[in-house]
């Protein structure tokens, strides 16, 4: 799996979780401002990402994630890619 593939899957999971169009889930999109996600939405999205790849994302690492691109980077980092 390469980075591009991860991005596609992260965007798909996030779009589904946040109930927004996948076209809106671009790397620069900010969760709160652009995707209208509240803090619980974000926790849910993280849980979904954890399940998708069977990874563990601790809360302190979630805190720095404000955009879709950062989420992709975090998942990639967790997968060692």
């Amino acid at each position: 799996m390469d980075r591009a593939e991860i991005e596609v899957r992260v965007r798909k999971v996030l779009a589904e979780q946040l109930a927004v169009d996948e076209g809106q889930v671009v790397p620069d999109a900010r969760f709160a401002e652009d995707l209208n996600a509240d803090s619980l939405d974000l926790v849910e999205a993280v849980l979904a990402l954890e399940e998708e790849w069977n990874i563990d994302i601790p809360e302190d690492e979630m805190e720095g994630v404000k955009t879709v691109g950062q989420a992709v980077a975090l998942v990639a980092q967790k997968l060692g890619i």
């Binding site: 589904e16 979780q17 927004v20 509240d38 619980l40 939405d41």
Partner: protein, 257 residues
């Protein structure tokens, strides 16, 4: 997930699978039976006695309900996770939780053993926190859920000799209200019941004097039955209680009135 509408006319759209911690005896067992009668598939969580748990399940099955028993030590994070996984496999995703498992040991604070304090807080508060956290995952996914925390009348009207127990049960009230605010927008309600003097193993140690004092302060003038507590829990877990959230409901014959 977020695009799914909330169920409009009841929980029919989601699986109704409830876990009752400490469900093999006392109030927990009564809740398990009442929920099963109300259409829930009920997982009876037990820590030590699978004999009691099996008996409770038999009663449910005899009454035409369905359920399962599951070993669930609420003090142990891994056990809680495993238990909910097992319930999900056998009955389906959990959308109901009754945090009933409790520990009580009376004693004056000056002489109270700290290990008993820890056990009280760990069982009554940490256990509810832990199980709630595990259960919330599937409730969020279902966009529907019901959590009832079994607190106690001592959270509202304390007694000497129960500092640890009262502190733990009051903590459950705080947990209930805060969580109700966290997840209320997701179709999940979180409420607490505060039973007064109910005849259970946990109250069987009371001296006749202590019992008489309780009864004197209880306008209805008698102890409550397990069923009378379970009735309220069953309601709070039902779709009918859909606008009751963060409520702390005494079921105490007026003890705290």
């Amino acid at each position: 997930m977020g695009s799914q509408p909330h169920p409009v006319d009841g929980a029919d759209a989601v699986t109704k699978v409830a876990v009752v911690t400490g469900g093999s005896r006392g109030i927990g067992r009564a809740c398990a039976e009442a929920l099963a009668a109300g259409g829930w598939e009920v997982a009876i969580g037990y820590r030590s006695s699978d004999t009691d748990a099996k008996e409770a399940l038999d009663a449910i099955v005899r009454a035409g309900g369905t359920g399962a028993i599951v070993r669930l030590d609420t003090l142990d994070e891994a056990s809680a996770k495993d238990a909910f996984d097992e319930v999900t496999r056998t009955l389906g995703p959990v959308t109901g939780l009754v945090n009933n498992a409790g520990y009580s040991q009376d004693g004056l604070m000056l002489k109270y053993p700290m290990d008993a304090f820890d056990r009280t807080m760990d069982t009554n508060v940490r256990g509810a926190f832990l199980c709630g956290r595990v259960a919330l995952r599937s409730m969020l996914r279902a966009r529907w859920g019901r959590i009832v925390n079994v607190s106690s009348a001592v959270a509202l009207r304390a007694n000497a000799g129960q500092t640890a127990y009262a502190a733990s049960k009051t903590a459950l009230v705080g947990l209930t209200k805060s969580l109700a605010r966290e997840v209320g927008s997701k179709g999940i309600t979180v409420n607490a019941v505060c039973p007064g003097l109910v005849d259970t193993d946990m109250t069987s140690h009371l001296t006749d004097d202590a019992r008489a004092i309780y009864l004197e302060q209880t306008p209805i003038g008698r102890t409550g039955s397990l069923q009378e507590v379970a009735n309220v829990v069953r309601f709070l877990m039902s779709e009918e209680a859909s606008y009751v959230n963060g409520a702390v409901i005494p079921v105490d014959g007026g003890l705290t009135a």
